[in-house]
């Protein structure tokens, strides 16, 4: 590739695949071997006054933010143009809606981080990996706020769709367009780089609870009956944290 250094190729074309590989293999491993550790790790029992606000605000605003990322990153600019949305309209919509989302996420995570820091009962339950992912998320959210609100709503604005979005989609086409991302501002590059770190760390943190969203509850019968079933004994050497093969009903 012309005009692209080896480091840039490593950073923008190798690291993403490594992160994705860790993400996929990590989840398979965790799901197979650590069902017992797969939980929300709720601290509502210990503290509820702050969680009552922080929990819902953070999660619902996060859903908005995820929706915004899907629109901005996965949907090509040509598609929105095709249905008659011009670039300025798109930008103001994205900046305004994005600001609502990111302010919500910021307020929510501030409340949650605050109770984790200042409520002794909650802090006592916090493991090093919880701190690690919490700090990562905090930085990522502050960067998101800077881009959405400071740059795009209040500032001169930056159209990331021809650069960041093109590069991101090219990764999944198997032909990484490193040129596209290299030309993006540093703010965006840091945000994206941190995102790969979060994705790689995801399977080893409490974030796995996101995949357990119990939507199925809406349709299942109220009372669950189970019969005693045969099942295999523990895999050798895995009794300590109850690592064992799943998928065997009992």
């Amino acid at each position: 590739m012309n005009g692209v250094s080896g480091l840039e190729i490593f950073w923008w074309a190798v690291i993403p695949y490594v992160a994705l590989a860790i993400f996929v293999i990590g989840h398979v491993w965790r799901y197979r071997y650590d069902q017992f550790g797969w939980t929300t790790r709720s601290t509502e029992l210990q503290e509820k006054r702050w969680l009552r606000w922080g929990g819902p605000i953070f999660h619902y605003a996060t859903f908005l933010a995820i929706g915004g990322h899907v629109i901005g990153i996965l949907i090509p600019a040509s598609w929105t143009k095709a249905i008659g949305i011009s670039e300025p309209v798109y930008r103001w919509f994205a900046a305004a809606a994005g600001t609502v989302a990111v302010v919500g996420v910021l307020v929510g995570v501030a409340i949650l981080a605050g109770r984790r820091l200042f409520v002794a009962r909650v802090r006592a339950t916090t493991s090093p990996v919880d701190w690690f992912i919490l700090i990562l998320l905090l930085i990522e959210i502050v960067l998101g706020f800077a881009m959405t609100t400071v740059v795009n709503l209040l500032g001169a604005g930056y159209n990331y769709r021809p650069t960041v979005s093109v590069w991101f989609r090219s990764l999944f086409a198997g032909n990484p367009n490193v040129h596209a991302i290299v030309s993006a501002p540093v703010l965006y590059q840091v945000h994206v780089s941190l995102a790969w770190l979060i994705i790689a760390a995801w399977p080893f943190t409490r974030l796995v609870h996101a995949w357990s969203a119990p939507v199925w509850y809406m349709w299942r019968p109220f009372v669950v009956y189970r019969s005693r079933r045969a099942s295999r004994p523990n895999e050798p050497g895995t009794s300590g944290r109850r690592w064992r093969r799943i998928g065997v009903r009992y």
Partner: protein, 554 residues
């Protein structure tokens, strides 16, 4: 007709002395791990009192159990499934640790590390959550024997709900106060609202014996089971982030042994036996419009194991023959259905609970004496029931959705048995007859034996799980037992509680004891398998009631 079998417990409250042995042995067996300090699968509450967690019985506050919607359909009191999913990020009905109590221990190291001095060192209370010093202000046993009752007990939801007039009977001054103990475990309901509330589908009712369990591997910590249970008998382990609950000691039940709380009950007030019920009728029964009909409706769900059509149908549906035989001998069926003295706890929650209670009659003798009654007079025997210090209306709020009828009927039968047996012992003519309370003399005699002299094998009629399932069950134990092996659990690195619990009691000793018993067969003449052998003599004399002594305490 879909016949299912369920292990069921009845507790005779007249016999509970509030010693908390059941709570202690249960805790030693199941919840002596970090994260479960505040968890009591079994606890004993003094009534009147707020209970544990505080005021758990007030479903207008906690929204546990079921209710009927506008169209009369059964629905969870906490709201629709969608409402649950929407409020999943902070469950509005979840009790906090203050409603239970912040777990604590003591800074015992101080006893050793304190500098030399003239004063004896003392230890301070340390929170098990934070390690900081704390000052306990509430707990599972805070109101034991009415401690603090003058300030607090009138907030007991069962007192708050008393009708005008009955409320005035509740007195908390020292001379006229009343109290009794209420041991509580999970109700293992026929229509469990905790199971229905679990978004992950991790909670389930076992088809074979009706025990309600949490699959520790599928629980994701959404916490709705905790708030969905009106009895607040599902707890959140704050270390593992998973729900835990009373297991009905299923590894012991499978081996044909009583639960630990029953086994160790000093007052021998617990009865364990099978109930057969028609699973197709449960929903309709739980949806009875009038809450006071729920008790009768639940009785209507139970099936008579003596009924040949029931027996034939049960066998056809795969209920093992020995289970049917056990159902016929079931002491719980006798107390609940045949004699109608046991009542469900809070049937108005519509969960169809399966741990029932014989209401307390205890102070009746004192009351009758104090009021100048004489139990030679039939009118006085029964009139005393309404003069009890424990207002019948209060018991009705606990056991019959406020309807005094079933409570009064149960107490009348208990009073009759007492009066008849007392007259019999004193060689007098009894003033009341079994027929006065709608019983036959044989039934009264059976009730007396069951309540007064039932031995171990009469109180606990538990058919072992089937031998052909042994291999599978072992595998299941291995899995469920492992939940105790996490982070400092009692089974850490060991075989898990299913294996550990046994030598401490007598499953393994059973073989040896059985051999001994075979030698003693001339004395015993009964099946002594599974009995707690506290032998005082090699060949004990026959018991005081003239029954053959079977070798010690039954």
């Amino acid at each position: 007709m879909r016949i299912m079998a369920q292990v069921c417990m009845v507790m005779n409250l007249d016999k509970c002395i509030g010693c908390h042995t059941c709570s202690v042995t249960c805790k030693q067996t199941w919840t002596n791990r970090p994260g479960t300090e505040y968890v009591y699968f079994n606890n004993v509450e003094t009534k009147p009192g707020l209970g544990y967690p505080a005021r758990y019985e007030d479903q207008e506050q906690w929204h546990g159990g079921w209710t009927l919607d506008r169209k009369g359909r059964l629905t969870l009191k906490a709201g629709s499934r969608l409402k649950k999913l929407i409020s999943i990020f902070c469950n509005p009905d979840l009790p906090t640790i203050e409603d239970y109590h912040e777990p604590y221990s003591y800074d015992y190291a101080r006893l050793i590390t304190a500098p030399a001095g003239t004063k004896a060192p003392s230890v301070s209370t340390r929170s098990a959550l934070t390690g900081r010093e704390m000052n306990p202000t509430w707990g599972a046993n805070w109101e034991d024997d009415l401690a603090g009752a003058p300030a607090r007990a009138l907030r007991d939801p069962n007192i708050v709900a008393l009708p005008e007039g009955a409320a005035e009977k509740v007195k908390l001054d020292f001379e006229s106060v009343f109290m009794f103990y209420l041991p509580r475990i999970c109700e293992h309901c026929l229509n469990p609202s905790c199971v229905a509330s679990c978004p992950s589908g991790a909670m389930y009712k076992r088809e074979e014996d009706g025990i309600v369990l949490v699959d520790q591997d599928r629980c994701r910590g959404w916490r709705f089971c905790v708030s969905g249970c009106p009895y607040k008998k599902v707890y959140f382990n704050h270390r593992t982030g998973k729900a835990e609950k009373c297991t009905f000691c299923f590894p012991r039940i499978e081996a044909g042994l009583p639960t630990v709380c029953s086994e160790t009950c000093v007052g021998r007030l617990r009865y364990l036996g099978l109930m057969l019920y028609d699973a197709d009728k449960v929903l309709a029964a739980a949806a009875s419009t009038d809450p006071t009909r729920l008790y009768e409706a639940q009785l209507g769900v139970f099936l008579d194991p003596e009924d040949p059509t029931v027996a034939a149908e049960a066998e056809r549906q795969g209920i093992p023959h020995d289970w049917l035989a056990a159902a016929r001998r079931s002491p719980t069926y006798a107390l609940i259905v045949r004699h109608r003295v046991a009542l469900p706890l809070h049937p108005e929650y519509r969960t169809m609970p399966m741990v029932w209670y014989v209401p307390p009659l205890s102070p009746v003798a004192d009351v009758t004496a104090a009021a100048g009654y004489d139990d030679a007079d039939a009118d006085n025997v029964f009139a005393a029931i309404d003069a009890l210090r424990i207002p019948v209306e209060y018991l009705a709020n606990l056991f019959a959705a406020g309807d005094t009828g079933p409570v009064r009927s149960s107490l009348r039968r208990l009073a009759m048995v007492r009066a008849v047996m007392r007259a019999h012992q004193l060689g007098r003519d009894p003033a009341v007859r079994a027929a006065d309370v709608g019983m036959t003399d044989e039934a009264a005699e059976d009730l007396f034996r069951l309540l007064a002299i039932a031995r171990y094998e009469d109180r606990y009629v538990i058919p072992p799980a089937h031998a052909e399932d042994a291999g599978r069950l072992l595998a299941q134990h291995d899995l469920s037992g492992c939940s105790l092996e996490s982070e400092g659990g009692p089974g850490m690195g060991g075989d898990g509680p299913a294996h550990e619990a046994v030598p401490g009691f007598h499953l393994l000793r059973r073989e040896a004891l059985a051999r001994e018993d075979a030698a003693d067969a001339s004395v015993a003449g009964r099946d002594t398998r599974g009995r707690l052998h506290l032998r005082v003599a090699e060949h004990p004399a026959p018991g005081p009631l003239g029954l053959a002594g079977t070798g010690g305490i039954a």
